[in-house]
């Protein structure tokens, strides 16, 4: 027994095969190639099957992690995906985009002495295996109860709410403002990180369960929240519209041509598939010398997209240091491998343009770290006289987003906090407006896919209670 445990510890974590950096930096195909069944079984064998697993509390939706991994180890792939579905309706997505290193894998006991079990890769494997070889059998659904729920927004939290409530017997309709469902999974996260076919399949799965998806419905404009109750007969409304208001730097020259919000740049590339222009009709600016402002996942996505669109040079400009970069470790690593340069402790102060109003460069200041600020991170302080200029013909501003007021301001009695986000109970998602729940980035501010899903799960439970027992 002791010998076996020791052997387990020595088995190194399996590295998922990936496209070579110099190849993938110029194409839009997915970067990691996935595990084979043999590899997945071997990696699953590294799990200690702890009696009190440390990993599970790290998961915002509480997946039975040792449970699904053990089923992979036994080769019971169908059972494994069923185990995942009990808690997570989007495993193919989460296996790819969750920040596992600060959640499940960050708490894994195996990781104390070596590298943690590759929980994310195994989750992805189980989901991909089901997509490729699964029976397509649907989970059981309760008898329709005749109650109508509207889900506003088809991003990760909305999809979770819809998936949870449809199996409980509710009549669920998703209202999406764009012409295609998926929210940030479709307009934000690039193809090379999350293939759109996977998102489409997850949504198709919900549709097969009976969820109705209505696109081109801008709630707040095409129809209001109150009209959903009064005219369209809904019994409850869930708002999961995301943050959706791009932040800019508010420095001189920001309206020059060639300065785009990350939302615009990525929406053109991902939702509109502008990387295929002129095969599709939506253009995207092609920068030779690109600067991306910010160092979160969105910034990495924008930088790697620019590289794939043919840039000679892509630089991340970030005002804090490497330790404060909010992006997933894997994304930073991938970006560096693909030749993206990092200008850390650097902050732009103004942009330069030519007579045609096009961006030609920017002035930056060097920063140093001072005392911790409200976020607990050390505040960057400008170094006097450290100005220098950077040439660039494209700048993508990825410094976060705020609350889009389109829906919230057109809904009466909707209580907002001082930043414009919806005031909702974090445990239930209940807002101050009767029959209305909210969750995801429109409540918390920009966060992750999995946290939005966690909020969706709690709200779905609360909506179920309300429609069964009353407010």
């Amino acid at each position: 027994m002791a010998g076996q445990a020791a052997k387990k510890e020595k088995t190194p974590r399996l590295k998922m095969p990936e496209q070579e950096p110099h190849v993938r930096a110029r194409n839009f195909h997915e970067v990691p190639l996935g595990l084979t069944a043999e590899m997945a079984i071997e990696e699953a064998g590294r799990c200690l099957q702890c009696k009190k697993p440390a990993c599970v509390p790290g998961c915002p939706v509480g997946i039975d992690i040792p449970g699904f991994i053990n089923l992979i180890r036994e080769g019971e792939f169908t059972q494994s995906i069923r185990k995942l579905w009990e808690k997570n309706s989007l495993p193919a997505v989460c296996g790819r985009v969750c920040p596992q290193e600060i959640q499940c894998e960050g708490l894994c006991i195996v990781g104390k002495k070596g590298e943690p079990v590759a929980i994310g890769n195994l989750e992805r494997f189980a989901a991909d295996q089901e997509r490729a070889h699964g029976t397509g059998e649907l989970p059981p659904r309760a008898k329709p109860n005749g109650k109508k729920v509207a889900v506003v927004g088809s991003g990760p939290s909305g999809l979770t709410v819809a998936g949870d409530l449809i199996v409980k017997g509710y009549d669920v309709t998703i209202l999406e403002a764009f012409h295609k469902p998926g929210g940030v999974l479709v307009y934000g996260i690039p193809e090379f990180r999350l293939p759109k076919a996977i998102v489409a399949q997850e949504i198709n799965f919900l549709e097969r369960l009976g969820v109705k998806v209505e696109c081109n419905a801008v709630v707040g404009r095409t129809v209001s929240v109150d009209e959903l109750f009064e005219e369209e007969g809904y019994d409850a409304v869930y708002i999961g519209v995301g943050a959706g208001l791009p932040r800019f730097m508010n420095i001189p020259g920001e309206n020059l041509i060639g300065i785009l919000s990350a939302n615009e740049y990525l929406t053109r590339a991902n939702l509109m598939k502008a990387y295929l222009f002129p095969e599709v009709d939506t253009p995207i600016p092609i920068g030779k010398n690109v600067v991306v402002l910010g160092a979160g996942n969105v910034a990495m996505d924008a930088a790697r997209t620019a590289m794939r669109l043919g840039a000679d040079k892509v630089r991340i400009v970030y005002r804090r240091s490497r330790d404060e970069m909010p992006a997933r470790t894997a994304e930073i690593h991938h970006a560096e491998e693909e030749g993206i340069e990092f200008f850390l402790l650097t902050n732009p102060t103004r942009y330069f343009g030519n007579e045609q109003g096009r961006l030609t460069g920017m002035e930056c200041l060097k920063m140093e770290l001072g005392e911790p600020d409200d976020s607990g991170r050390r505040r960057p302080v400008p170094m006097e006289g450290s100005e220098f200029s950077l040439d660039c013909d494209l700048c993508v501003v990825a410094v976060g987003s705020g609350a889009n007021p389109l829906l919230t301001q057109s809904t009466k009695d909707m209580q907002l906090n001082k930043w414009g986000y919806i005031d909702a109970d974090l445990e239930t998602g209940k807002t101050r407006k009767k029959g209305v729940w909210a969750g995801g980035d429109i409540v918390t501010g920009a966060a992750t896919v999995i946290l939005a899903m966690g909020a969706g799960r709690k709200a779905a439970d609360s909506i179920d209670q309300y429609l069964s027992w009353g407010w």
Binding site: H179, V218, L245, P246, N255, V280, D281, P283, Q356
Partner: protein
């Protein structure tokens, strides 16, 4: 799907009218609001301000000029065919209230956008003078409808082939000289709105313009439509499309709407090679 129930060609086939089935939009839309249309799967999202809505029939009407690949593609759509996507109503509606004497200045396809606004302002009890401008007689649209929607109608053409020879600003100046104009609404090409605003600021007459910059989502999410109004950045899709004409940075707007002109030219040329019928 958003089916076309009526289609007309105007201004020698350079301007197209489509009446489209979109009941949800038709029941809510107000003058001054716009929609985003996408013809097919590969299509671009194109914002156009509505020229008419009919809540009873459940239809909206757009009138557009063929200027590039996307509008050339729109032009191919016949009655019974459909746009894949129509999103709206977007933007803030025109503020319609009684202010007294109003001059509505429309140029090019801006006249189409101006029409429901003019009618609403007249219905609100204002005395409305409409001034329409076109390059030549053949390119003038909606003359009869605008005559019905206003109390007085003045027409200018650049070449003098119809109405007064000259620009809308020439006719507007004469009206302003009377000294009893409380408000001007100007909708048309950016240079027209710029020069109308320049003129009216000399007379200190409040002026509203409707801007149509490049957009993607139309819901305030991308910021592609940013315009500078009184030194501050605004999003035309949610803060507009109508703004105080005296506050708009037109020079910046004129540059920004050219952002993709090379790409658009290339895309249109490719399309014209494939479909020579639409090359004009």
């Amino acid at each position: 799907m958003f089916t076309i129930v009526n289609r007309e060609e105007m201004a020698e086939g350079t301007v197209i009218l489509n009446e489209i089935e979109a009941p949800r939009i038709a029941s809510r839309a107000k003058p001054g609001q716009f929609v985003i249309l996408k013809a097919n799967e590969e299509g671009e999202r194109i914002p156009l301000t509505m020229a008419e809505t009919d809540p009873q029939k459940g239809t909206i009407t757009i009138i557009y000029m063929v200027v590039g690949k996307s509008t050339a593609l729109f032009k191919t759509l016949q009655v019974g065919e459909a746009y894949q996507d129509v999103i709206g109503p977007l933007g803030k509606p025109t503020t319609v209230e009684k202010v007294g004497n109003i001059v509505c200045v429309g140029g090019g396809t801006g006249i189409a956008v101006m029409h429901p606004i003019t009618r609403a302002l007249k219905d609100a009890g204002n005395h409305v003078t409409a001034i329409l401008g076109a390059r030549s007689k053949d390119l003038l649209i909606l003359e009869e409808k605008m005559a019905a929607a206003s109390h007085e109608l003045l027409i200018t053409t650049d070449d003098g082939s119809y109405g007064r020879k000259g620009f809308v600003t020439d006719a507007l100046k004469d009206v302003l000289d009377k000294g009893d104009t409380q408000m001007v609404v100007a909708i048309g090409p950016v240079p027209m709105m710029k020069f109308v605003s320049k003129l009216t600021s000399e007379y200190q007459v409040k002026t509203i313009v409707s801007l149509n910059p490049i957009m993607v989502d139309g819901t305030g999410m991308c910021g592609g439509c940013r315009v500078t109004i009184g030194g501050k950045t605004k999003f035309a899709c949610v803060d507009g499309p109508e703004f105080d004409g005296h506050q708009v940075d037109y020079d910046e707007l004129m540059l920004r709407i050219q952002a993709y002109c090379e790409d658009e030219k290339r895309c249109f040329e490719d399309y014209c090679m494939l479909k020579p019928d639409y090359a004009r």
